[in-house]
Amino acid sequence: MKKGCLFAIVAALALPALAEEKDRSSLEAEFKQISTEYEKAQREFAETYQKTPEPERKNLKYPEVASYSKKMIALAEKDPKSPAAADALVWAARRSYYDKSVGPQAIALLKENHLESEKLGNACQMLAYNNSKENRDFLNAVIEKNPHDNVKGAASLALGQMLAGDSPAEAEKHFNAVIEKYGSKSQKESAKGELFEMHNLAIGKVAPDIEGEDVDGKKFKLSDYRGKVVVIDFWGDW
């Protein structure tokens, strides 16, 4: 009798925890499934694109990110504090540039539930391309509250890149914070590159000289072209 009672108590305590764990692992599985579905759609698009003759390519529709982002957000809302929710929201936030309809919602949920997560670095980077108030507030909150240096670094770098055009002084502050305070080695290097661009490659500056070789090994310099209007095109055939 005593034994049975103890068992019942243990079971009563353990079951909700088990149930929660089960729910969480099914959320992880759901997250993987949605991202796999999206990758598959992208792959199929690429294959169709290759097979389609050029004039008809413009009629092809790229897989719509927003519908997948909506699924990710719905998943996250089932258990907003869970690790799977963080993954799902980071996924959507990273793609918020392409789907302005649902991106801000993902950012808001991340800010509310996962501001201290070390997964946020990946989300920050892509926000640099969209200078919106939500994105700025989010990145500032990450810098203030996230305990992980590489995440703070990613947020500062993104804010700097976002502001470099309109508020260069503010941008410099963020780049310097990356270099002096919390950037990883590669983040520091990026920040230095951004500062160099701001100081030496801005409109109105004399372009630094380029010395190099063409594909046949013939040397030539940018300064050989003084007296001419020059377009420099960084290109690749991909």
Binding site: V215, V230, V231, F234
Partner: protein, 100 residues
């Protein structure tokens, strides 16, 4: 992109103008592209990857990246494409004519 650049270079033949590329492909690939697309303009070959020394020095993280310089070597426009590039170049050429 290539057709526009080809026509720009052709249209400005004989003017004080140059289009110069900085290429991030492996050598065989760049040779093939230059031939196939009939590129008559020069490119620096940047070591075969996007991590090349010129792209690094110029902090280039996205391709294509475009700079337009005036005859004194001053950066006047960035990332102008197609008709915008035409306008930018034409303006600088006109300004250069005026100073002569």
């Amino acid at each position: 992109m290539y057709p526009h650049e080809r026509s720009l270079v052709k249209r400005l033949e004989g003017k004080p103008f140059a289009l110069i590329g900085v290429n991030s492909d492996p050598k065989d690939r760049v040779r093939q592209a230059m031939k196939k697309e009939n590129m008559t303009w020069r490119s620096w070959w940047d070591g075969g990857s996007t991590e090349g020394p010129i792209a690094k020095a110029w902090n280039v993280n996205g391709w294509p990246t475009i700079y337009v310089l005036d005859a004194k070597g001053v950066i006047r426009y960035k990332n102008v494409r197609e008709s915008e590039m035409d306008k930018a170049v034409d303006k600088l050429l006109a300004a250069l004519e005026d100073t002569k």
